[in-house]
C-alpha cells in the first residue's frame, strides 16, 4: 500500500509549492509512488475529511509556511494529530522566514500602517445586516516547531529541487535520519560554494561594504570582498544559488545542527573577522551593517532566542 502523504501550507508565499512543481518531470514518479490524501492547492479534501481520518494515519505531512493566525495554528495541530511524521517544509516553517520579520513590530502597528486612520478590517463585521468575519493575526509569527512538534525540516527559501527530491526519497525508502534532523547536509554552504578557494587563510576586514557601493567580483569570495555573506553560517544544500547570482548568501537554509541561534552566531563570526581594534574604527566599519536584525535574522528571527522585538503590545 502506498504511503499516505499530505501537503499543507500556513503563512507562506506559494514559492514552496512552485518549488515542488519545478521538479517538473522528476516529480511525477514520486507522486505516483505515494497516495496524496490532502493537498489543498490541487486536491479536494476538506478539514472534516482529515478530521475523519484515524490519528497518525497520514504517513507524512509536508507543511510549509510560518504560523501566524489562529486557523493556521489549529490546522497545524490537526496535521500533527493525524500524521506520523510532520515535516516543516521551507524556511518559513523551519525558521519563520521573511514573514518572521513581522516580529519586529505588532499586528496593530501593521494594521495601522496598511489602513491608517480610515476604515480598518474587522475580525467580526456586520455589513448592513450581513455577518461576515475575518481571522485574527498574531503579533508574533511562529515557526512551525514552536506551534507543534516537528519531526524533520526541509530548509530553504525555497528548498532546492535537489534536497526536495532527497527528502521525498528518504521517506519513500524509509532511510530517515534521527528525528529532529534537518534534511540537508550538516555543513556550511561554503562547502559547495565555487568561490571557497578564494577565501584567504587570514581574512581580516577593516571595512564592510553594502551592495550598492561595490561591484562584486564574480570570481572571488564575497565575504573576502567585505560584503557580509552568510554562507559560512548557513547550511549547505542550496547549491550556492545566490552566489551563482553573484550576490551574498542571506541564510535561507538556516544554521547547522551545532548552532542554536542562527543570527547570533552569524553576527558573532562576522564581527570576529574584523581587523580593527580601535572602538571608533570598529563602529565606523559597523555603520555599513545598517540593519543587523534584517541582515543576520533575515529568515530566522522568529526562531531566534529572542523570537521578537521587546515592545508594548
Amino acid at each position: 500500500m502506498k504511503p499516505k502523504v499530505a501537503f499543507y501550507w500556513c503563512a507562506s508565499c506559494g514559492g514552496c509549492e512552485e518549488a515542488v512543481l519545478d521538479l517538473a518531470e522528476d516529480v511525477l514518479p514520486v507522486l505516483e509512488a505515494v497516495d496524496i490524501v490532502f493537498w489543498p492547492v490541487a486536491l479536494d479534501f476538506k478539514e472534516h475529511d482529515v478530521e475523519a481520518m484515524a490519528d497518525a494515519s497520514i504517513d507524512v505531512a509536508f507543511v510549509n509556511g510560518a504560523v501566524r493566525t489562529t486557523e493556521q495554528l489549529r490546522m497545524a495541530r490537526l496535521m500533527r494529530r493525524k500524521s506520523r511524521f510532520v515535516v516543516g517544509f521551507g524556511a518559513c516553517a523551519q525558521q519563520g522566514g521573511i514573514p518572521g520579520l513581522s516580529n519586529l513590530t505588532t499586528a496593530a502597528a501593521t494594521m495601522q500602517e496598511a489602513y491608517g486612520e480610515g476604515t480598518k478590517p474587522q475580525t467580526n463585521c456586520p455589513v448592513n445586516g450581513y455577518a461576515l468575519d475575518l481571522p485574527t493575526l498574531f503579533d508574533t509569527v511562529l515557526p512551525l516547531d514552536r506551534a507543534i512538534p516537528v519531526d524533520y525540516n526541509v530548509p530553504g527559501c525555497p528548498p532546492s529541487p535537489k534536497i526536495i527530491a532527497a527528502a521525498l526519497q528518504a521517506f519513500l525508502s524509509g532511510t530517515l535520519p534521527e528525528p529532529g534532523s534537518v534534511l540537508a547536509p550538516d555543513r556550511a554552504m561554503c562547502e559547495e560554494c565555487p568561490r571557497t578557494d578564494s577565501h584567504p587563510n587570514e581574512l581580516r576586514l577593516e571595512h564592510f561594504h553594502r551592495v550598492p557601493e561595490i561591484v562584486i567580483d564574480p570570481e572571488m569570495c564575497i565575504l573576502a570582498q567585505g560584503v557580509p555573506c552568510l554562507g559560512p553560517s548557513t547550511r549547505a544544500g542550496c547549491g550556492a544559488r545566490c552566489i551563482n547570482g553573484n550576490m551574498p548568501c542571506t541564510g535561507c537554509f538556516g544554521p547547522t545542527s551545532k548552532v542554536r541561534d542562527y543570527g547570533a552566531k552569524a553576527l558573532c563570526s562576522i564581527a570576529s573577522v574584523m581587523g580593527c581594534n580601535d572602538p571608533a574604527e570598529i563602529d565606523a566599519a559597523l555603520e555599513e551593517i545598517a540593519d543587523p536584525a534584517g541582515t543576520f535574522y533575515r529568515y530566522s528571527l522568529a526562531s531566534s532566542f529572542l523570537e521578537r522585538k521587546r515592545m508594548e503590545i
Partner: protein, 148 residues
C-alpha cells in the same frame, strides 16, 4: 516596577583577569551587591553572542562581560574579538527593544578587585532604574487565544 525588584545579571568573566579580580575582591573582603552570577570562560574571546542572547531570552535583566584590558589579553587578542562582537550585538539589541545598558563590557584586570564592586554595584543601580527586562509573554497570549 516593583520596589523590591532585584535585577538578575549573568556575568561572563575571563579566567585570567576579571575572574581573578573577583577572587581578589573576595580575598580582600570587598562587599558588593549579590545580583551578578559568574560564568567563567578562559577568555572573553570565547563569549559567543549566542550566550548573551540566551541569557536575555532566559530572563536575565542584564549581561556583564569582563575581560582583560586591551593589550593585556592572556591570549593576546581575544578581548578585541570580544569588543567587536560587543559593538555589533549592541546594535542588534537596540533593534530588538533591549536597552543597550543591559549589556555591559568592562575591562577589569586581576589587580582591580575593587573595580568588580564598582561595576556590579553601578550596573545593578542602572538596571533598577530601567526595571525588569521585558519578557516574552505576548506570544503565550496568541496561543491561549487558539486554545480557548
Amino acid at each position: 516596577m516593583p520596589e523590591d525588584f532585584e535585577p538578575r545579571i549573568v556575568a561572563f568573566f575571563c579566567n585570567w583577569c576579571t575572574y581573578l579580580a573577583a577572587d581578589l575582591a573576595g580575598t580582600s573582603r570587598i562587599k558588593y551587591l549579590p545580583n551578578a552570577e559568574v560564568v567563567r570562560v578562559m577568555c572573553s574571546g570565547r563569549i559567543d553572542v549566542q550566550f548573551v542572547l540566551k541569557a536575555f531570552a532566559k530572563g536575565a535583566d542584564g549581561v556583564l562581560i569582563g575581560g582583560c584590558h586591551p593589550g593585556d589579553c592572556h591570549y593576546q587578542e581575544g578581548n578585541y574579538k570580544c569588543l567587536r562582537r560587543f559593538r555589533l550585538v549592541q546594535r542588534l539589541l537596540k533593534q530588538m527593544g533591549i536597552e543597550q545598558e543591559r549589556l555591559r563590557l568592562e575591562w577589569i584586570s586581576a589587580a582591580e578587585g575593587d573595580r568588580v564592586r564598582v561595576v556590579i554595584n553601578d550596573m545593578v543601580q542602572t538596571l533598577k532604574r530601567l526595571g525588569p527586562a521585558p519578557k516574552l509573554v505576548e506570544q503565550a497570549a496568541d496561543l491561549t487565544e487558539v486554545n480557548a
